[in-house]
Amino acid sequence: MASPARRARDLLSRGGPLGGLVLLCAVMAVLSPSFLTVTNFFNVGTQIAVILILALGQTFVIVSGGIDLSVGSVLALAGVVFGWATAVAGLPLVPALLLGLGAGAAAGLVNGLLITLGNLPPFIATLAMLSAARGLALVISGGVPLSPIPEPVRELGSGDLFGVVPLPVVLMLAMWLLTAAILRHTYPGRCMYAIGGNEEAARLSGIGVGRQKILIYTLSGLFAGVAGILQTARLASAQPQAGFTFELDAIAAVVIGGASLTGGVGTASGTLIGALILGVLRNGLNLLNVSAFWQQVVIGAVIALAVMTDTLRRRRK
């Protein structure tokens, strides 16, 4: 009933630094004539696809009050497992894909078990996985990129739908819708908000907090696996170094999108906006050919400004 309406209100009035994004786009459009074009629009989409998929998985975790530092490494592990299965072991496409995604989900499952059964803080458990998954990716690949990648997967990285919409953008939007649906319309999704909002109250209300957490981290791992396949598709090779320090970008997208690291707050749309802010920023700096050294200064300043625009606007009301 009121729920879609509430969602729109969330987005416009309080949720997500939409204001920051709009402002940023306006500035870029003025500064660079190449910015406001359809191709560039899809370029930005393609470029944020991998980070956004990681960030969507991360959204589950952050909404539930946790954190997943391992997503970048798990991305690499999933990609390399897939690459190994197809290029080295010579498995057919589907089993290879399942192996890659399975590796991602398995890494997430281990995170979940370490946190619930091992009683580790999420930061520690996923930090350990950050190191271990990267190590495994290196071991499995022998430290070198694995190829060839089968044509259908390479197509996923560079093909288009109807000759216009790049497939990475299609995949990313599908994952976004899936995430929004899980968060808003499924029992596990609602549990994420409850656990993040007050874990003790959730437990005392009979929610199986441990089981839900295991599911949450497994989902994050699975999303990292999808991102790993997509990254492999885009690069046409499986790289053990893929996704290095991506965890910071993924968490940043979620938090810029209005989620709170203390849990209970966050939406798929917010995360999309957060990823877009980061993507538009990098794209714009490239278009403007800003010098390498200054780029980092500008990125820092704009991130702060984009989020501040939003919090100040919210406060004024």
Binding site: S32, N43, Q47, L138, L235, A236, N283, N286, L287
Partner: protein, 288 residues
């Protein structure tokens, strides 16, 4: 005497500190060193500094603690490695530098290829391929010596002529995925780009993915390092050239010279390892 941590009595131990094993180039260097070590029957201990200058100091300190007979170091940074080299000097363990020099301390010899010369070579080849028109450069991690030296040689040559102009130069941090994204963006602002120089092959391969069918034909791509994937791309015509260093040779020369030094033979102060231009014509020579 020696050999506290050095394996069986009588066997030589050499420590090899590598800047990073996350790059196939250095994996090849290590493989070359390991093959030479096997051939010469010495023990080789390898450690990976993961591109962290401080970690490298720690690695070298560990070699000193283990009382190895010689240290091969592939510095993360020429200056940052100095204190560690001095520590080895104090412990009277000879040090040989690989690929990158050291700004101080006593080095028996430097076995390296010249990154500035490689940059120049790449620029000349790109100019030859493009003829005239705008080109772009993909930079490595800002502040690293490879990015500095390769960029310096490349820009020096480009600025010395007027047919080919450098219209965009952006960092992609030696990373393939970033090479892809940044190239897309550069093409957006400069659709008529005729050539791209990437300061390593990883970024060049990212650029190739971004260019799609235009790679190697309409838009020329020159990389650096001659990693396996790049050689394959050149053979297939998706890339045009790269600059080959000879990492395996660097590794084996390192071990061979270390043994000479241990046995008190004299070695020259500089052992240059040629850089070579790899093009479609000669690429087959470089593939194993």
């Amino acid at each position: 005497g020696r050999g506290g941590g050095g394996g069986e009595e009588g066997q030589r131990t050499i420590g090899l500190s590598i800047s990073t094993l996350n790059n196939p180039f250095f994996v090849t260097l290590r493989d070359g060193a390991q093959r030479a070590a096997q051939r010469e029957n010495v023990e080789l201990i390898v450690s990976d500094a993961q591109n962290d200058a401080a970690q490298q100091q720690d690695d070298i300190q560990a070699f000193i603690t283990q009382q190895v007979d010689a240290i091969l170091v592939n510095p993360v940074d020429s200056e940052a490695v100095v204190p560690a080299i001095q520590a080895a000097n104090d412990a009277e363990i000879p040090v040989i530098a690989l690929d990158r020099g050291a700004a101080g301390g006593e080095i028996e010899t430097l076995i390296a290829s010249d990154n500035v010369e490689g940059g120049r070579m790449a620029a000349r080849e790109l100019i030859r391929l493009v003829g005239s028109g705008p080109v772009a450069q993909l930079e490595g991690i800002p502040g690293t010596s490879a990015a500095r030296d390769r960029g310096k040689g490349f820009e020096e040559v480009i600025e010395g002529q007027s047919a080919v102009r450098l219209v965009a130069s952006q960092p992609a941090n030696f990373d393939r995925a970033q090479g892809l994204n940044v190239t897309q963006n550069i093409l957006q602002a400069n659709p008529n780009i005729k050539g791209i120089f990437a300061q390593n092959d990883e970024m060049a391969l990212g650029a190739v993915r971004a260019l799609g069918d235009r790679a190697g034909s309409e838009v020329k791509v020159v990389g650096f390092d001659a990693i396996e994937d790049a050689l394959k791309a050149i053979q297939e015509g998706r890339m045009n050239a790269t600059i080959a260093q000879q990492p395996a040779r660097m590794g084996s020369l390192g071990v061979e010279n270390a043994i000479k030094v241990i046995e008190d033979e004299r070695v020259p102060k500089n052992i240059p390892v040629e850089v070579k231009l790899v093009t479609q014509e000669n690429v087959s020579e470089f593939r194993q």
